[in-house]
Amino acid sequence: MTTLTKEAGAPTPAGAGPLLSVRDLHVSFKTEDGIVRAVDGLSFDLERGRTLGIVGESGSGKSVTNLTILGLHNPMFTTVEGEILLDGRELTTARESELEKLRGNKVAMIFQDPLTALSPYYTVGRQIAEPYMKHNGASKKEAWQRAVEMLGKVGIPNPVERAKDYPHQFSGGMRQRAMIAMALVCDPDLLIADEPTTALDVTVQAQILDLLKDLQQEFGSGIIFITHDLGVIADMADDIMVMYAGGAVERGTTGEVLRAPRHPYTWGLLNSMPRLDSDLGAPLSPIPGSPPSLLTPPSGCRFHPRCTFQDRVEGTGRCVRERPLLAPDRASACHLTADQKRTIFIEEIKPRLG
């Protein structure tokens, strides 16, 4: 079974339902210019041991969604509506002290740039040991041993000595390994990886991805993998959710979404990817226009100002007036009919992808 949306209903009892279930999530920030709707009606599920890839441009709401799961948004400026259920437990209304017990313990996060995400003032070993002490009540010595063990597990040579080093003494790839060790030290059920390989060079990137896959096998965590790199997601994810302007526009298994995408935005993403076997002189074809302002999002379908297919939709101006809904399971939020989507992809998009 894939990790697709079911009908929102009564909260599922712990252990039975999906590991993580997000229902109609709305997150908005108060700014000086007005209210920014960073996440606007998002729903998805994640089963244990599976990987959900979230793809989208900067500002599509993918990082905000995940910070909100951890409750790391600033409560003074942020309004959160909807449900986030972890093992059937509601997180949006949970107290700060409860969330603290979950963070780093049940839900851990890996950030994009391990250089800025690790504190320069403390040793790598200490930073890994800290959450273990806090969540497992371990002594300093036990926690340090566990940190060394974890550093070994993520493939740091000579972990006993390297644990005493500071992050700046590590290379970029090793820092990200240390970050992963820190995230996994308490054996979390859910791991959120926010563009964990963007700051790394390509060979190191491949190593880190392999490491994450191996560790997932061992720890059985569910992973939310955020990226804008479709190549990485094809490698990592079981399922894909494509986000645009604060909402999901398409979802399905990785094979479904990458081989037979059904949303014009996904087509655009695939189209704008450079290929090794294409002519050197062939220009990239970017999606026209730029991501919309979330202060004043476009009416109707959020993607319509950039969409080249809107005139094929039945009923003039429907894309401008009416916001397409994302059905449960394999689906895309677009007014084109299923037949149109299939035909357009096969006849117009696929040939260009080579």
Partner: protein, 326 residues
């Protein structure tokens, strides 16, 4: 670390050397003759020439500077007033007392004033700043920020006389500011300095409040602070262990500069409260064109600033491991 310190100390000596040279040149560049101030009513060309000769001012400026350096390092017994062991700045034109001795007499006043005020403004300023950052955006924060803004716009020569008028002369709640050596009577040392401490530290505390607040808020937005929160560490733990550590760098930097310049003499504060410290001495030396005293005060104050600069640089290494290794 040791090599670093040695290098810094050598650099400081070079700076002091250049500074003494500049002071010398400037002193003789100013059209003001100390002999005129000294000879009083009986001034005539002969007596002025005589004074010049006695003070050594008739020699070429390079030779005078050579003598000054020699005396400073080796001491001298050429002075009519008596022997002058190194570091010898000579004798004051105005008071006829040994400059080094005068400096050492005045130092305890300045040190007492500075240390007492520093303790107050660090505790109050950093405490308020941290509280404001912790409660960012609340009424507490807004009050602290606005208050600090207003107070740091005040000046000692406004706040000082105001405090004197109300707290000393009208209500008689406090003693008139004075310096009593702590070795003689700790109580009167304390009561004599409390008003200067409060006034001086109020203005500094306001600046430290603003600095601590903005520095903490900046640090709290760092990604590694967010990481620490994401792994479940409590807000207080992250605040004091992660954000505070990073905020220390700018705070220590400014504190070093402030402490160094206060040890060189808090001129306005000492004048406002008639405290006989180094700052008063500095003004006096300029007023009386008193070259030996001027050089003494200048070089002493500069040494203090340079010394605290070196201390601050050494402290960086304790705060930030990245500095330690490079």
């Amino acid at each position: 670390m040791l090599r670093f310190l040695v290098r810094r100390f050598i650099g400081a000596v070079v700076i002091l050397f250049l500074l003494s040279m500049v002071t010398f040149v400037l002193f003789f560049g100013v059209p003001r003759d100390p002999a005129l101030l000294m000879c009083g009513k009986t001034c005539n060309p002969d007596s002025i020439a005589n004074i010049h000769h006695v003070l050594g001012l008739d020699k070429p400026i390079t030779e005078q500077y050579g003598i000054f350096l020699h005396n400073l390092v080796m001491g001298s017994d050429q002075f009519a007033q008596g022997p002058c062991p190194a570091p010898c700045f000579g004798y004051s034109y105005h008071t006829n007392e040994a400059v080094w001795g005068t400096l050492m007499d005045r130092l305890p006043t300045t040190v007492s004033l500075t240390l007492g005020a520093a303790v107050c403004f660090l505790l109050v300023g950093l405490g308020t700043g941290l509280l404001a950052a912790w409660r960012r955006g609340t009424l507490i924060d807004k009050t602290a920020t606005a208050g600090a803004m207003v107070i740091s716009a005040l000046q000692i020569y406004f706040l000082g006389p105001l405090a004197l008028a109300i707290l000393v002369y009208q209500t008689h709640w406090f003693d008139k500011p004075a310096y009593n050596p702590v070795s003689q009577s700790p109580v009167s040392w304390f009561t004599g300095l409390i008003i200067p401490w409060v006034v001086l530290s109020t203005i500094f505390a306001a600046q430290y409040t603003r600095m601590a607040r903005s520095s903490m808020i900046e640090q709290l937005q760092e990604e590694h602070v967010r990481t620490a929160r994401a792994k479940g560490m409590s807000r207080a733990y992250v605040f004091f262990r992660y954000a505070w550590r990073g905020s220390l760098i700018p705070i220590v930097t400014i504190f070093g500069i402030d402490l160094g310049s206060l040890f060189g003499g808090a001129i306005i504060t000492e004048y406002t409260f008639s405290l006989p410290g180094l700052g008063q001495l500095a003004v006096q030396s300029v007023f009386f064109s008193d070259l030996p005293l001027l050089l003494g005060v200048m070089l002493f104050s500069a040494s203090m600033i340079l010394l605290f600069n070196i201390i601050v640089d050494a402290l960086y290494a304790f705060i930030d491991p990245r500095v330690r290794l490079s």
